[in-house]
Each structure stands twice: as structure tokens, then as C-alpha cells.
Amino acid sequence: MDIRAIHAVTRFGLGQRGAEAPPADPEAWLTSQLEAPDAVLAGHLPDSRSALEAIHLVDVGDAQFRKGMIPQAPPYIGDRYQADRKWAIATLIGSGQPFRERLVMFWANHFTVSARAGGAVLALVEAYVAEAIRPHVTGRFEDMLSAVMHHPGMLYYLDNATSVGPNSTMGRARGGGLNENLARECLELHTMGAKSGYTQQDVTSFARILTGWSVDRNNEPRGFVFRPETHEPGPKVLLGQTYPEGHEGGVAALRWLAHHPATYRRLSEQLVRHFVADAPDPQDVAHIAGVLTATGGDLKAATLALIKLPNAWMPLTKFRTPVEYIVAVYRALDFIPATVEDRAKAYATTEFLGQAFHAASLPNGWSDVGADWVGGEDLVRRADWAYTMAGRTDAPDPAAAAAACGPLLSAETAQQVRRAGSRQEALALLLASPEFMRR
């Protein structure tokens, strides 16, 4: 077997699925996934408009309950949307466009909106990924940034929906004021990065620029709304650039940030860290940043350049995060969770192995560095879970599963798999091997 074929599936995809033959032309296989439209977008997707309506109806129900008009408060909104996350993880496991899904995972983590925030944010997480991230992973970074910053999920998650300009009509009449959270994280995490030269004044000024960027969940069309009554009047200066009052000021500021050299550098470093090595080679980073600069932030061009990096073809340099590991195990077993119960189990495993799906602890998302994922208990849990999964009655023959890993498997592991005392042990050893924990 060509090591490049199985490497492409492992490094850039989600792992080999069952006995499926690895691609004959790995680069063409990857490229075609970027060219073809996203199959998931053609299907039924979670959507923010209906989620906002549901949130609104819960608001109404809560108010009625408080007034004694109805006997019971409506159920917690978050509970109804857990199903979306289970759907999302099953979609990932069964994907026929795994490279595209990896890009969705990468960008959703870069622009984290975490279900851990609960309530309205939890209800919106999968709609956010479907609407703000997924359509743009092979588009322009500027468009993704704009979609993210206009999305109700992000506006709620980082508190901008309720930020009020102190001198706006609303600010003067009723008080209220700025919330810097989104402005700061947009600079620090989403675009330029910490230490790229912005100051506290820039953060505050950007927060002023973004006042009025809010969400209407009470009236159609539900979704993003620019509220002039909470927008801080007057022009504002961000990093030496002056932006006019109004929604267009924020749009222009985001466009400028999207194309800033520090943003390109940061995105390149993150892409290379994710797809190539924990400690990115500065030349690789500079190369991808150069592509972003030359193309004005074309993410397809940057991704294509990424798969052409010689370093990207060094096998098994990256340690799989728990979610990557879980998805790879399911795919190796060719077990695509379809029932409500199976999907719930797949989701619960992400919590059990320490990376609850779409529920990062903090706005900076999950770590992309192997050392952060090798707690002792963590690895034993992986092994125990692999052992349980290997005990499924429809699990593949261990020898066939080992053969599917091809030249990625070391001689030692192959030998232990052959020597194991039972089929379950053999398959579990393969799935819990150091090679399988990497991509």
C-alpha cells in the first residue's frame, strides 16, 4: 500500500473507514473534496431562525408562568438542542468528505462558540457551525469572519448582543454600557492575536464600533439586527484607522482586520499546527501566510498550499484529540451511529474522553498540541473505551483492520495484534496503539 494514500486519509481526513480502499491518487482525492460542494449543506440543517423562535417561545412561556397564567414553566431550551450535537457528531463519523469536515472542525474551533455556555447559546451552536462556518471553509476568510460576527450564536456567546454605547440614545436614556468581550476575543483569538500591537484603547474602541450588533429573537425576520438606538455615535479609531458611525463602520473594521498581516500570520500558524506539526516550521507558516496575502485570504488556496507542504506528508506527527480519536475508531469499525441511542453514546464518549463536542471550556477552543491530551487517566480511558468498542459483535477481523492501517503500523504493534489472546484484545490493541492515537 502507498503510504501517501493511507497518510492522506489519516492526516487530512477522519481515518480509514472499514475496508474501504484508500484513494489511488491522494492529492487528487483531497483536492476534489475542496472543489465539490459540501454535501451536508444540501441536507437538512439546524438553523438559527427556528432556534431563535424556540428561544422566544420559551421566553414567552417563562413570562406566562411567572404571572401564573400557565401551570408549568416550559422545558429548558438547551435540552431540545442536544439532539443537534448528536446529529453533528454522527454526520462527522459518516462523512464522505472527511477533509472538508476537518476544515469545519478546525474553523469551528478557531471561532469557538461553546455549548458549555448553555441556554440560547447551546440552542444555536450547531446552527452557528452550519451557517457561519461550514459555507466558508473553502471561501474567503473575510466572509467567514463577517458571518461569524453577525451570527446570533457568537453575539450571544461573547455578550455583544447586549452591549450598549454609553452615548447612544438608549445609553443616555436608560444607562447601560459597553461589553468588551467580543471585541477583545475577536482581536485576540479570531484575527490578529495577542501581542500583535493593539492596546486597551483599541479593544474599547472596537467594542464601541460593534455596539448595536445584536439579535432580534422576538420578531421576524429573526436573527442579526443592527440597533441604531444602542450604537455609539460618532467615528471611532481602531489601530489608527477611522471608522464611520453605523453598521458599515463595523463591517469596514472587520474587513481591515481580516486582511491584516498579523491575522494571516496567526491563521497560518494555527493551520500548520493543526495539519502539520505541534511546533510549526516557521518557513511553512510564512509560506501559507504568503498564499493568504497573495490571494486576499482565499482559504481554499491556503488549504491547497497546506497539502503541498513536504512536512505535511511526514506520517503520524500529530496526536489525535479525543474527538478525532473517537471518530477514527468509529470509522475503523465502520460503525456509523444511526439510532438515537447510538448517537447519544458517541456524543457521551466525547465527554468521557475529555473533549465534549462543541463545548470547549473557553473561547480559545480546544488545544491543538499533543502534550495537552496525554493525561494518564485520559489514555487509560481511551484504551478501555477501545476495548469495549472492539467487543462489538459486528467488529471487523483484527487482521483486516491492521492491514487497513498499512505501513503506518509498526512491526511491534502488528506483532502484538497477531499475538493477542482474543479477537477483542487484538482489535482493542490496534485501536489503542500509539499509531492509531496519531494522525
Partner: protein
């Protein structure tokens, strides 16, 4: 980082993670115990150790300020100028017993107002990023205990403050049925040459054993919040005569950009009960224990538009324990007049966290300038704070 497990059945200690809270430990050959509680995501010091006697407080904070001591729902008295948030009654009881020392206007070395950067720097214990954390270096400076590693992390991750060259033990709770012994033996064999996984896997497996055989009464039995369960366990492990001596507990949930008062009234009792559980777990060893409660930075003096506060600078900390010179508030209080605010928005810090930590270590472990410099490099400008512990 080296991860090794100390002899399992000795009952030497561990680190656990449950939900958003985690505990990691290190040990040293001494009776003195030292615990650091990191309140991740920036605690608003002005809401917790409240300078209600500062005339400017109400101008800035308005409705966020709780009533003065003695009034309904009011602050707990800390001697006139200061009041403690009413969500901390057990810490207040320690204060009255002279075992709690609230500190104010303190800050770490970093001024970025970035959670992640400031936490990293706080944990490195230097004004620059380092490869190791200061509790790891402390574990290395204290005399090694005779029979194994000096430090132990409980749970899925070892916090940066405990990472570094000094070996760390690790333990976490497992609840999946174990496979056969053969399976684990073979598993170790195929990880034998792996630089990333071998040590961790070895630790993890020994810890399972350790968990099954030696640790009865481990958490997960009660209905406590994870932090509280973790604190109680940590206390018990530290209390053992040959147990670990250093531990780190993490608690998050302090990033009160909105609805600050309701959020704190939920989060602070968890901290309060956790401290009580830690003391309870320690039993008689509380007399030999110092607990340092810190956060990466404080929050803006002004209230933001959503009933909360944004990222700031100076904040509060606590030194707790049987030997603490408590029952008073220690602060070089800068005041809250507009001219005194740091960058016209935050509490001006007048004490560096390194001075605070060095003050504890100097007295608690009799560490001189040289070991203190090892634990906190390039910190000679930040002299150890004096009089934190009773002589």
C-alpha cells in the same frame, strides 16, 4: 514533562478532574502543606473583599455594591473599612478565628488582560513564559521524599503551574470496566518506545490500581460540586503522614461580563464550601497548611453595560490556614479615585503575586533568597511579603 507514578499502595497522592474543577498535587518531605487554588477567568476582587469604606466605591459600582455589614443581605464585617461577600461565611469564620488573611490590590506580572496569557504567566511565576510552572520548581526545591516522585497530578491534564522537570504523579477517576490484565500488559509493550504516551499510560494504569485498592472514600459518592469533592479528596491525601505536600486546585466560573452579582452569589459558595471541605479533609494537618487563593487579574472598576465588569488588573487574594496571621485585611490600598485607577479603569495593583507567594514560602518552608529565586526567577525586585504567617 515526566509523568511517573509513585508506589501505588502507599496511598500517596494525586490529581483529579471533575467537570470544570481539577486538582493536582505534588509532595515534599516535610510536615508543611501548601495548596494553591487558582480561580481561573478573573475574579472581581472589589465584589469579594469589598472596600465599602472607600467613598468612591458606590460612585463606580452603584447597584452592584451590597449593603454594609449588619444590614439585611449585607457584607460580612472585616473590621470597619472592609467587608467580605456574604457568599463566603466559612471563610469569614476562619477570619474570625484568625486563620484567614484577605489580601487586596494584588496582581500577577502580566498586564495583557488576556485570560490565557495572564494565567500562563501566573503559573510560570515569572514575567516571561517558561517551560515549567512555579509549583513544579517548588517541588524540586523542597527535599525529595524518599520513596518516589515529588508531585502528582490528578485528572486529565496537569496545569502549567505543576508542569516541568520535577516528576509528577498523576491520578484520575475511571468508570469504564477494566479489560484483562493481559491486555494492559500488551498495551504497555506497544507504547514502550513512545516518548509522548509511555509515561502517561504507565501512570494511568498504576493509578487505576491505586484507585481500586488504596483509596476508599474517594469523591464521586456525594452530591457536591466537583470543586468541593476535589477539595475534600485533596485534603485527605495531603493529610496522610507520608502523603503529598503540595497541591493545586482549579476552579473556574469567574468571568462575570454580565449579571455579575447573581453569578457570584452562585460561584462564591462553591469556593467557600470547597475551602471548608479541604480543611475538613486535612483534619489536624490544617494547622500545618497554608492555602493561597489567587486569580489571574481583577475586573474593571466601572460596571459595564450588562451588569458585569470587563477584564481588569488589581484584585483580591486569600491566604488561609491554621498558622496564618489572619483576622485582618492586608492591603496597601491605592484608593478608587479616578486619578488612582490603573489606566483609568482598574484597581491599581500595589502588590505582586510573586511577593505574596514568596512571603508564604519564605516563612512556611524557611526558603532563603536562592531557592526563592529558583522558584520565581528574576524576582529579586519583588521582596517576600512579611508577616503573612504567625511566627
Amino acid at each position: 514533562m515526566m509523568l511517573r507514578r509513585r508506589t501505588a499502595l502507599l496511598g500517596l497522592a494525586a490529581a483529579v478532574t471533575f467537570g470544570g474543577a481539577s486538582l493536582a498535587m505534588a509532595d515534599a518531605d516535610t510536615r508543611k502543606r501548601f495548596v494553591v487554588v487558582i480561580l481561573r477567568s478573573a475574579l472581581d476582587g472589589l465584589s469579594v473583599v469589598v472596600p465599602y469604606g472607600d467613598a468612591n466605591l458606590r460612585n463606580w459600582r452603584g447597584s452592584l455594591v451590597l449593603p454594609e455589614p449588619g444590614r439585611d443581605g449585607g457584607l460580612l464585617a472585616l473590621g470597619g473599612f472592609w467587608g467580605l461577600h456574604p457568599g463566603l461565611p466559612q471563610i469569614h469564620a476562619l477570619y474570625r478565628a484568625g486563620q484567614a488573611l484577605p489580601i487586596h490590590a494584588v496582581a500577577g506580572p502580566n498586564r495583557s488582560r488576556s485570560h490565557f496569557e495572564a494565567q500562563d504567566i501566573l503559573e510560570c511565576g515569572a514575567d516571561r513564559r517558561m517551560e515549567s510552572g512555579w509549583m513544579n520548581r517548588l517541588a524540586g526545591v523542597l527535599p525529595a521524599s524518599g520513596d518516589g516522585d515529588n508531585a502528582l497530578a490528578l485528572g486529565q491534564t496537569v496545569p502549567l503551574i505543576l508542569r516541568g522537570p520535577t516528576p509528577i504523579d498523576a491520578w484520575g477517576r475511571g468508570n469504564v470496566p477494566a479489560a484483562t490484565a493481559d491486555f494492559y500488559t500488551q498495551l504497555l509493550a506497544i507504547h514502550d518506545r513512545d516518548p509522548l504516551t509511555k509515561a502517561a499510560l504507565t501512570d494511568g494504569l498504576r493509578d487505576r490500581n491505586f484507585n481500586t485498592h488504596a483509596l476508599d472514600g474517594m469523591p464521586g459518592t456525594g452530591g457536591d460540586a466537583p470543586f468541593i469533592a476535589l477539595a475534600r479528596t485533596g485534603g485527605r491525601l495531603l493529610a496522610k503522614p507520608n502523603g503529598p505536600r503540595l497541591a493545586v486546585l482549579d476552579a473556574d466560573g469567574w468571568d462575570t461580563h454580565s449579571s455579575q452579582n447573581p453569578r457570584l452569589s452562585y460561584a462564591l459558595p462553591v469556593l467557600d464550601n470547597g475551602i471548608a471541605a479541604l480543611k475538613d479533609g486535612l483534619g489536624a494537618a490544617w494547622a500545618d497548611t497554608v492555602v493561597l487563593v489567587v486569580t489571574e487579574f481583577g475586573r474593571t472598576v466601572r460596571v459595564n453595560g450588562t451588569g458585569g465588569t470587563d477584564h481588569g488588573t488589581g484584585t483580591a487574594a486569600f491566604v488561609l490556614g491554621g498558622g496564618v496571621a489572619g483576622g485582618r485585611v492586608q492591603a496597601d490600598w491605592p484608593g478608587l479615585s479616578e486619578a488612582k485607577l490603573f489606566e483609568n479603569r482598574d484597581v491599581q495593583p500595589t502588590l505582586d503575586l510573586r511577593s505574596l507567594a514568596k512571603g508564604i514560602l519564605a516563612q512556611h518552608y524557611s526558603l532563603g533568597p536562592q531557592p526563592l529565586e529558583t522558584v520565581f526567577p528574576d524576582s529579586t525586585g519583588f521582596a517576600p511579603a512579611r508577616g503573612l504567617l504567625r511566627a
